[in-house]
Symmetry: C2
Amino acid sequence: MKPEEIRFASGALMTDQYQLTMAQLYFRLGLHETKAQFDHFYRSNPNYGVHKAGYCINAGLGSILDWLDEVVFGEEEIQYLRSQKSSTGRQLFGDDFLNWLSNGFDAKAINLFAMPEGRVVHPNVPIHVVEGPLGVGQIIETGLLNIANYQTLIATKAARIKQSSRGQVLLEFGLRRAQGLGAIMGTRAALIGGADFSSNVGASHIFGFPPKGTHAHSMVQVFMGLGEGELAAFQAYADIYPDDCLLLVDTIDTLQSGVPNAIRVFEKLRQKGHKPVGIRLDSGDLAHLSILAAKMLNEAGFPDVSIVLSNDLDELVIWQIITQIQEEAGRYGVEPDHLIKRMVYGVGTHLITSTGNPALDGVYKLVAINQHGEWVPTLKISENVDKTLNPGNKRVWRVYDRRGKATADLVALQGEDVLNQSPLELCHPSMATKRRQLAQDEIDHIEKLLTPIILDGRRVYEIPTIEEMQTLRQADIAHLDPGVLRIMNPHIYHVSLSLKLWDLKQSLIKKARHDSVP
Amino acid sequence: MKPEEIRFASGALMTDQYQLTMAQLYFRLGLHETKAQFDHFYRSNPNYGVHKAGYCINAGLGSILDWLDEVVFGEEEIQYLRSQKSSTGRQLFGDDFLNWLSNGFDAKAINLFAMPEGRVVHPNVPIHVVEGPLGVGQIIETGLLNIANYQTLIATKAARIKQSSRGQVLLEFGLRRAQGLGAIMGTRAALIGGADFSSNVGASHIFGFPPKGTHAHSMVQVFMGLGEGELAAFQAYADIYPDDCLLLVDTIDTLQSGVPNAIRVFEKLRQKGHKPVGIRLDSGDLAHLSILAAKMLNEAGFPDVSIVLSNDLDELVIWQIITQIQEEAGRYGVEPDHLIKRMVYGVGTHLITSTGNPALDGVYKLVAINQHGEWVPTLKISENVDKTLNPGNKRVWRVYDRRGKATADLVALQGEDVLNQSPLELCHPSMATKRRQLAQDEIDHIEKLLTPIILDGRRVYEIPTIEEMQTLRQADIAHLDPGVLRIMNPHIYHVSLSLKLWDLKQSLIKKARHDSVP
């Protein structure tokens, strides 16, 4: 794909065909400007197989806002749409509709409420709420989902890996195994969610982080091919990068060749007043090799150089590595905690693809439509009761208990006085008998979650820096119960409906079932 | 991300930082123009968990060539690289190196040999071979891997889904669950590998396919919200798209409401001389609902309208659906084969993310370096013998047996007269005792696999159309043994080394082990 093709496919036409055919239908019926409300939410936390997430880290809003700037039906887009044919060869999109797309359509003529990026989010809680003309709300669905689903997925994976690595430096190394240009957004999300740096040069620059890296096996192979060896390769690297000398030690044999050669080079660097940075291990029993390498480095007087691990890492592998170090290091005279604190993790494939759960099941659903100035809630029933929509114009609240921990997200109807309800009633979204009451003295405070981003077409929100999003993430994670944070078998965080919303939902379900009987 | 940011991150700087630091090292040592050969290959066929692939469908080359046109270090790239600092604050990349990048570097000053897109490929067989200046070969590694890994992964998944759907029309529906802009390449790969169409509007246009779609649940919800019902929604759709009327029937209740309403609308269409296209089922027991919907459609005189299925489909689910139809349809008076032939499959998440195996393990390895005009093979040993490189300047051959089936891919050294060896010796890549001999009369023909794409910096290959790639795929799949094609537990296709390559590899392993002993 050429840059102009990428631009073409990443603007207004980054959408599914049916959004456009539906928009034309609304246009023909005079419904395209009718106000509608769409909720974006995801249905379930990622389940990676043997382990699963107890929460997600929200990401994507900044990219969605950038994308909305590009959702414009210019000459090229209109010309292409005009060329589309029905199955009998007629023009599929009429000139009247195309004229509206190019002159009447404004992707930002909406109200947008959203969760800020970096915040902890939970299933079935609206993350983005779009209120605007039906034709606009429909056309922006696919792009919004694409961006929000992928970035939240990756930010969540990064948070888990960061957690299992006990806060050590996490490097995003996934570009070569990423999904084409998806890598750009993937890097952004990884940085929001838990990565400290990325190897991706272009993406790092866009997002304001210095890219990081070591060297490849090929560098050592070049020297071997030219009749020299690993030591010469390391020495050459140290000569050119004396203050950034991080050596990959497993091209030939980690303990027999790589680490001893690295130590020789580090000694020379030290003599010249430079501080070696570290070694990288990319194969073999990483925990065992880390211990033996640490022992060799300690004995050579380099107790502080980093040990960077890579090679198919994820949150479970890192957990295992740390566990093994705790059990095994002492036997070799290496202090486990000291070793754990010098580790750096380079994570590629499993972070950028969210292995085990490569897509978040985010959806974007019509929940209300405005008729004669009144919001009419809408419903979609499902055979699976958990998938039946929460209808209507809603607000979202997070309830903190006396420990200061978040204890539930409460989805209520607009206008409900949640702050002054006593006791606060929390209804399970689908099970009538599962209810919980919180007395005022059990509640520390209640936080309103959705932030106005666009009001009447005007941006009222400045996207924070990624560092600020990282701070939000850390604060929100600190408010989670340890059970919810567990890497395996996490507690289920309560997402509840207000009693009023519960009643509305039930009455709409009954009505829809009744109406549908022929 | 804004379009100019996407452009910045998808050109020369779509690379890992270490490629640039290594390139500077080669530059400093005067090795940057030394000729080197890199092989791109993948190590193992996708393993999706309970099922796995016996082959891959190659895809990516066209996008790689487009990308190489953009790998240019212009003012903006150089300015950014000049701003990078070492850990002590010195300029990381010297002006001499940056000057070479902007004036001496040419990403296309290489020889490139490759497998055409759409062809069946196997593990450890070179798919792209880059021969060129060491500095260039290194810098283009990451982008080439990014493109080739993802597209081959998705083309392979598409081929499997197409196979299990017995060649019925396959629609790619994944944009909303795709990995950001990765969707563009993902759509391309899906079309090469097995999808007939995509819902992605922009990407479909780029690749020359009409986008496809139906309508969403939200359309029915709008009508319900405005006090009308599903029937009115269907009728409105039919009025506007009388020749493309495909109705989503599961918003309320598929059999009680959706299908009967669709039939009413279809009857009116028929009266007006239009041919209804079909219905779509997006929830519930898809096989069972298909049978009952088919029965109703048949009885109403619509035995030919399509039944489009969607909702978490993949090759196993489709297999199960077809099996269930075969077992169950007869009981309802529906002819199973007739029903199977009217099905269309819309596959989203599991195709665009290759669920179960979301990344192909493609690598790009230095295999030879040119010294004084001679190619010196290079090696990287691994603890895992299967991961030890096949060194040297090689050629790849596909051997067809008397049945006309491909029986092995043979990796040999350049200059070996494979066509006239009798018997042809096929060595297992790592196990010394696993050998196979083919007499001339057991061989139908031997095909040379790698095609020259760029020679001495000049493009000598025209990228075929995607339709032509689809034809290549169909031909190659027809040449696979049914055992290799199995969706579950496929036979392992033979990838063999020539005896000469085997001997070279063994001698280099011995030498490297010997040299590395301190």
